[in-house]
């Protein structure tokens, strides 16, 4: 529930997604649905070895295959297609070495998908196996095989990055503690499992450039990468986003590669080239959520005041850096949880291995560390003989507190309200007391657990934080809106439409929010980090306000009054004589006056600073706070955990698009549920074992608990209408809340995800035996 508001007409009021109709009618054209005249089909040759030198690569036999029109290798790109940010260590097609099973080596374009596959199989590719390292704890050993690029600073080449947070005197903090709990936790790789797999379509343009359709998150970065590796001016590459079938952080790097491959093949053949992935190709080749190993130590005084937190994390970046150093940084910032401490000492290290590479995934390090710290808090409560809710409330960050990082929290800090609300709604106190008695002698054991969180909004000290939007009135008096942010299902086009409608005072259905297109929108950085609503929302708000200013002047002129005397009724303007004039009349008058009926808005996030060497500063300009409570039933006959209910209380600052906000929380919880119970990616000697949905188990409708959502609105002054972020935070605490509930039910503390039947029943994990075959078969390798 959210309280009714009367200060807006469209913001926070019931509204439907702008693209819902085309989607329910089956009319939305996703990438694989686009078939063009003369279009060629592309397919990549991918490595069947986790680590190897490319000894011989002869693509000429592929060109003999009937139907094959072109084949490319890394030689077809500028600087061999070297790309990557912040570390430029990846290639659009592998150069000299392959570093994981699925690494693309060459790409073929042909008249049919079958001919493309035949072409791929005809390529002569001799790989000389290299020793591999797949265990993060071995990666930094002196004798470990080198996966990462050479470095000249004496560090191991497999060392990617280290992030620290340091505050207070950690030795004194621990010495002051009466109770210290420590534990080792591990979280697995997680597959994004968007229902639509990756792909790209490139169309050659008359002036020697290329037009791209790609189901990715960040078209501007895609454009810049493709232009760079093809040696084209950026304005010769146009990247357009069709409807995207889910992303969750997962459709960037690999889709940059697909785009570059299709673009090179399109320029070579002069024909449109499309590449779409099978599910197996997607799961083998795509990047994952980083697997993480963590050691946590927290000290508390006998009176329940948290003293100090030590945290060491090791992140598996896999074959390439992708976003892992940023993920590690976000993990380090959130590692100690949303609490006050006298001292913290956090260190998160990311390393290269020969597992598939890892990158951005919803939550970006926070679901991982939350799983660890929130269980340690419960263990401390147990040792103190305190209710875990009380221990959290006692130590929770409050308005005016300073984060351990040194940043004072000046507004929109609602963690205690979230915890109290979750406590009341879930009937926490009674269940916490009664369940252990009820469970005695029963094979079905019930438990209830909580996890709290904070989650930094947007990029923080990761990078420049800005956005732009444009708005114009067309000849038919419709309003066209653009944004540099993309909508891959999360609903940002609807959020921006509602904000523009509210500010401009027109009906949302008058507004056409265009799909992202690098030729029409203003570059706004990547659409990641739950930043679209605040960054893009502010840019939209400003653009709409600039346009409204023009229309207000025209209306005042038309009505013969001052702007301050205007009032609005529906879309109409009313002046002092109380006769309304329609919006159309005002627009016509504005044209007559010679006004340019377009505007743009740009917004820059507040300046923040992080000192990487000292591990102190202001990591983000604002934070989302939330608490989730999970109620579970554990069957001690089978070890199966059933999540019955989840109460989710999230502070969104201000809800712009209610249906979408609820959808984000429901969907985030579903992903957290899978992360908690069933989703696992196992690499055996670098070979992934789960290549389709029969072994990679994401929740289905019948797996879902009842979900009770409460959205709080403690506004953020710089947010559009007070809004903050929601997409990532929704999944952050779910796994920890479930783990705490399982511990309450069974007395068994599970420190390794997923919470498998074996772990619950036996206390340890039975890793299924693996074979390289499965991954290879999936790709026809």
């Amino acid at each position: 529930m959210i309280p009714p508001r009367h200060d807006t007409r469209y913001v926070g009021k019931p509204a439907a997604r702008v693209d819902a109709l085309e989607k329910v009618l089956g009319e939305a054209r996703f990438l694989a649905d686009i078939n063009l005249p003369d279009m060629l089909y592309a397919r990549a040759l991918r490595s069947h070895l986790p680590h190897a030198r490319i000894k011989r690569l002869d693509v000429s036999p592929a060109l003999e295959v009937p139907g094959v029109k072109a084949v490319i290798t890394s030689d077809d790109f500028v600087d061999h297609g070297n790309y990557g940010f912040p570390v430029k260590d990846n290639y659009m097609l592998a150069y000299q070495k392959v570093r994981y099973v699925g690494d693309a080596i060459a790409a073929v374009a042909a008249e049919t998908p079958e001919a493309a596959l035949a072409g791929v199989r005809a390529i002569i590719c001799e790989l000389e196996p290299l020793p591999l390292v797949t265990d993060v704890e071995r990666a930094l050993d002196k004798d470990a095989p080198q996966v990462g690029p050479d470095r000249d600073d004496g560090q191991s080449p497999n060392f990617l990055d280290r992030s620290i947070v340091q505050a207070g005197d950690i030795e004194k903090g621990m010495a002051d503690a009466d109770i210290i709990v420590e534990g080792v936790f591990s979280t697995p790789h997680q597959e994004h499992a968007y229902l639509e797999t990756e792909g790209a379509l490139a169309i050659p343009t008359p002036e020697g450039g290329v037009m791209l359709y790609c189901s990715n998150q960040s078209p501007f970065i895609n454009r810049d990468n493709v232009a760079m590796v093809l040696g084209l001016a950026p304005e010769l590459v146009r990247s357009i986003q069709p409807p995207v079938g889910g992303s969750f952080g997962g459709k960037d790097d690999l889709n940059y590669e697909s785009s570059a491959q299709c673009a090179a093949l399109a320029l070579k053949t002069g024909r449109p080239v499309r590449m779409t992935f099978s599910r197996e190709e997607s799961m083998v080749a795509s990047y994952k959520r980083n697997a993480m190993k963590m050691w946590v130590q927290v000290g508390v005084r006998a009176d329940g005041v948290l003293q100090a937190c030590r945290f060491r994390g090791l992140l598996d970046s896999g074959a390439y850096a992708s976003e892992s150093s940023f993920t590690g940084w976000r993990a380090s910032i959130h590692a100690m949880g949303a609490y006050r401490y006298d001292a913290v000492d956090v260190e998160v290290t990311s390393v290269y291995t020969n597992n598939a590479f890892s990158g951005a995934f919803r939550g970006f390090g926070n679901p991982e560390v939350n799983f660890a710290i929130e269980q340690v808090i419960d263990e401390l409560a147990e040792k103190l003989d305190m209710d875990p809710m009380d221990l959290r409330l006692q130590n929770a960050l409050r308005l005016g507190d300073a984060l351990p990082h040194g940043q004072k929290l000046e507004e929109s800090v609602s963690l205690t309200a979230c915890l109290e609300e979750a406590r009341n709604q879930s009937d926490w106190d009674r269940k916490r007391r009664e369940f252990p008695q009820r469970n005695a002698g029963s094979e079905l054991k019930k438990g209830i657990g909580v996890a709290a969180l904070f989650h930094g909004l947007s990029l923080g000290a990761e990078g420049a934080d800005y956005a732009g939007a444009t708005i114009r009135i067309d000849d038919d008096n419709g309003v066209t809106l653009t944004s540099g942010f993309t909508d891959y299902g999360q609903g940002s086009r609807t959020v921006f439409t509602l904000i523009a409608a509210e500010v401009l005072g027109v009906r949302p259905d008058r507004i056409d929010m265009l799909r992202p297109d690098t030729d029409t929108a203003i570059e706004s950085g990547p659409t990641v980090a739950s930043r679209a609503t605040v960054l893009g929302g502010n840019a939209t708000r400003i653009a709409a306000a600039n346009l409204k200013r023009i229309l207000d002047l025209a209306a005042a002129d038309l009505l013969g009054c001052r702007v301050g005397q205007l009032i609005r009724e529906g879309e109409s303007y009313i002046g002092p004589d109380e006769t309304p004039v329609s919006w159309d009349d005002v627009v016509a008058h504005a044209r007559k006056l010679g006004f340019q009926l377009s505007a743009q808005g740009r917004w820059q996030a507040p300046t923040i600073h992080w000192d990487h060497h000292a591990g102190r500063g202001e990591p983000y300009f604002a934070y989302h706070f939330a608490a989730q409570v999970a109620e579970v039933t554990v069957d001690m006959g089978t070890g199966q955990t059933r999540v019955d209910d989840i109460w989710a209380v999230h502070d969104l600052g201000r809800v712009i698009f209610p249906q979408g906000a609820y959808g984000q929380v429901y969907g985030g919880i579903a992903q957290g549920l899978g992360y908690a119970l069933t989703e696992r990616v196992d690499f055996v000697d670098g070979y992934i074992q789960q290549t389709n949905f029969e072994r990679y188990l994401i929740p289905n409708a019948a797996d879902m608990p009842r979900i009770h959502i409460t959205l709080l609105e403690d506004p953020l002054s710089v947010g559009p209408f007070g809004a903050k972020n929601v997409a990532e935070p929704a999944m952050v605490p779910t796994a920890a809340a479930i783990a705490n509930a399982v511990a309450h039910a069974t007395g068994r503390r599970i420190r390794r995800l997923p919470i498998s039947l074996e772990q619950v029943l036996l206390g340890y994990d039975l890793t299924p035996p693996g074979t390289p075959k499965r991954a290879q078969q999936g790709l026809w390798l």
């Binding site: 989607k23 089956g26 889910g246 609820y662 409708a701």
Partner: protein
């Protein structure tokens, strides 16, 4: 080989290889792109169609198995003027759509359920959707939409004096 069937109330006669899936026949040979390819192994339900009213994964059938049958895809689900049906309208109103890739399959699964059980509870709806994966929504608003449609249809048929 020649395959004859009815697709969204239109008779189809098509020459197609016998070893392709019905999904491939629909998407690649007939341009019926509302039927989605999500896994090709019968796990995700994105390729759901109604075959003589029964919900099936078209990736798990061979094209010739369509012969003589009546097939409904999302392209055949709309009101007389091409607008949304009551179920589709409820999907929109309940916020059941995010990325939309699974939605054609979800709508067909919902119609198949309501044809068989006009008055399902939430558990029955969730069970009926268990073969259709969605990664965005957490399913709750999809169940809401089907539930709302069932209630509305029940109320309407009640008013009409039919049960």
């Amino acid at each position: 080989m020649q395959i004859n069937f009815t697709l969204n109330n239109t008779p189809i006669v098509i020459d197609a290889p016998p070893d392709i899936s019905l999904l491939t026949l629909l998407r690649e040979h007939l341009g019926v792109t509302g039927v989605k390819d999500g896994c090709d192994v019968g796990e995700c339900g994105a390729c759901s169609i109604l075959l003589d009213g029964m919900l099936v994964n078209s990736c798990q059938l061979l094209a010739p198995q369509a012969d003589g049958r009546n097939i409904l895809t999302i392209e055949g689900v709309h009101d007389e003027s091409g607008g949304p049906t009551d179920l589709q309208r409820h999907f929109i109103e309940q916020g059941a759509v995010q990325c939309g890739f699974c939605i054609p399959g979800m709508i067909l699964a919902g119609e198949a359920l309501l044809a068989e059980n006009p008055n399902p509870d939430r558990e029955a709806i969730a069970e009926a959707l268990a073969g259709n994966l969605c990664r965005c929504t957490g399913y709750i608003q999809i169940v809401d939409a089907i539930e709302a449609t069932a209630r509305e249809r029940q109320a309407r048929s009640g008013q009409g004096g039919r049960s």
